[in-house]
């Protein structure tokens, strides 16, 4: 074994480790995407896209053999209808509050004309992180930037963690590193939503939320618009401080079945990056 430590191979391995260590430090120093990642992405993104499409085709074919395709289609139609109803409920509560406070709203907005979206597909998920992080097939070339919000028709899914030229890594709202300002849609009390690995929860509410209450984004900070649906309250309890409440949430969508998302690339009131 001593011969190994005197050999040229050992010296090469040490040089490799030094270079990789430098890459780690460079990556950890808040640099968005390293040139090495860009180089790997140039090859990996098309392959992952094809591999994911092939898996989905095979899985769909298998399901169709057992008629699960019909059930899945019916289930998706019901889900879309449910998402539409929840979205309208959020809009209704928002309008009702404004009328009661006599602020007046110019016109009635069913959609948000100031939002700009970029549709994207999920091309990879690492087995270690499960549903908490995934990679999509759009990047800075399509105007996707770090900290852009990621949505589906039903509501919020997560936030872009890093963006390359043709890909982006998304942190889902169930990830412990995810945090966003939010409020109880029925009482208007503010809190903070964060992930806990399996699901998400809202904390620092000054009033106990009701079961089933809808939690939406508050728009605080300028990185996320107000009114995006996050989830509904499952169970609430008093926090250790004794003065505030926390509640576990049912996210708007099952992240394990997510295949396509929309990245919110711009909206009125968005904070500009320095």
């Amino acid at each position: 074994m001593k011969q190994f430590f005197r050999s040229g191979g050992f010296k090469v391995i040490v040089i490799m480790l030094v270079i990789l260590g430098g890459v780690c430090v460079y990556s950890a120093a808040a640099t968005p995407v390293t040139p090495a990642e860009q180089a790997i992405a140039a090859l990996a993104v098309p392959l992952q896209r094809q591999s994911t499409a092939l898996t989905q085709t095979v899985t769909g074919f298998w399901n169709r053999l057992f008629h699960y395709g019909e059930l899945e289609e019916n289930f998706r139609e019901v889900e879309q209808e449910r998402d539409e109803l929840k979205r309208k409920l959020v809009e209704y509560e928002e309008l009702k509050r404004s009328n009661l406070q006599l602020k007046g709203i110019l016109g009635i907005k069913e959609e948000h004309p100031d939002y700009t979206f970029e549709e994207a597909s999920i091309i990879s998920r690492d087995p270690e992180w499960g549903d908490n992080r995934f990679t999509i097939n759009k990047g800075t070339r399509q105007d996707v930037q770090e900290r852009d919000m990621v949505l589906v028709a039903g509501g919020l899914v997560g936030r872009v963690e890093k963006a390359g030229a043709n890909y982006a890594v998304v942190t889902a709202l169930t990830d412990p590193n995810f945090q966003v300002g939010a409020y109880d849609n029925s009482t208007n009390y503010l809190g903070v939503v964060s992930g806990n690995g399996d699901s998400c929860e809202i904390r620092y509410l000054t009033q106990e939320p009701e079961e089933g209450a809808l939690i939406v984004t508050s728009g605080a900070g300028g990185n996320c618009p107000r009114g995006l649906l996050i989830g509904s309250v499952k169970k609430s309890e008093k926090q250790k401080s004794g003065t505030t409440y926390a509640a576990s949430l049912e996210p708007v969508i099952d992240l394990s079945r997510l295949t396509d998302v929309m990245v919110l690339t711009g909206f009125d009131g968005q904070k500009e990056e320095p």
């Binding site: 191979g9 950890a28 998920r125 690492d126 990679t135 412990p176």
Partner: protein, 166 residues
């Protein structure tokens, strides 16, 4: 003699293709799930290669696979590459000087490295409080199962393409 050398180098091309395919499969959503758990295919394949090849070959394979894995998983780019270079060099040294290159030894090394990798990533991300230990155990077990496929295949490839003793 020259043809034998070329034949010997072909195995590195085969290793590269296998690592490539496993990296893509590992990152593809919905591939090879068992009760919601998906395997870390790169680790048993790298352990199989490291057990049969030199330390430098093991380190280079570990670096390449680690960089691709870092790209697909997110987090600090290069962290898995560093981990795998160190571990695969260690596996190669152990199999050359201490252990016999047997299947159960490879399975034990795969078990240890998979557990260490999970612990390393959880510590690096600071998420030990939220780590689902049952998911981690199931994933470790499912990952180790694959060594029983990869190790015999790599051994056959390594022996078929090795340079003849003159």
């Amino acid at each position: 003699m020259i043809f034998a050398q070329e034949k010997s180098r072909i195995r590195f091309l085969i290793y590269t293709l296998m690592l490539f395919v496993c990296a893509v499969i590992q990152a593809t959503p919905g591939m090879l799930p068992v009760q919601g758990v998906r395997p870390l295919l790169l680790i048993p394949l790298l352990v199989s290669i490291a057990a049969e090849e030199s330390e430098l070959c093991a380190a280079v394979c570990g670096m390449g696979a680690g960089l691709w894995w870092d790209w697909s998983a997110g987090g600090i780019f290069g962290s898995r590459a560093v981990f795998l270079v160190v571990c695969m060099t260690g596996v190669s040294l152990l199999c050359r000087y201490l252990f016999q290159a047997k299947l159960w030894n490879a399975a034990l090394l795969c078990l240890i490295i998979t557990s260490l990798e999970q612990a390393f990533q959880v510590l690096l991300a600071g998420e030990w409080k939220n780590f689902d230990i049952y998911y981690g155990l199931w994933q470790t077990g499912y990952t180790v199962v694959w060594i029983f496929l990869f190790a015999p295949v790599i051994r056959r490839i390594s022996h078929f393409f090795e340079l003849p003793v003159e």
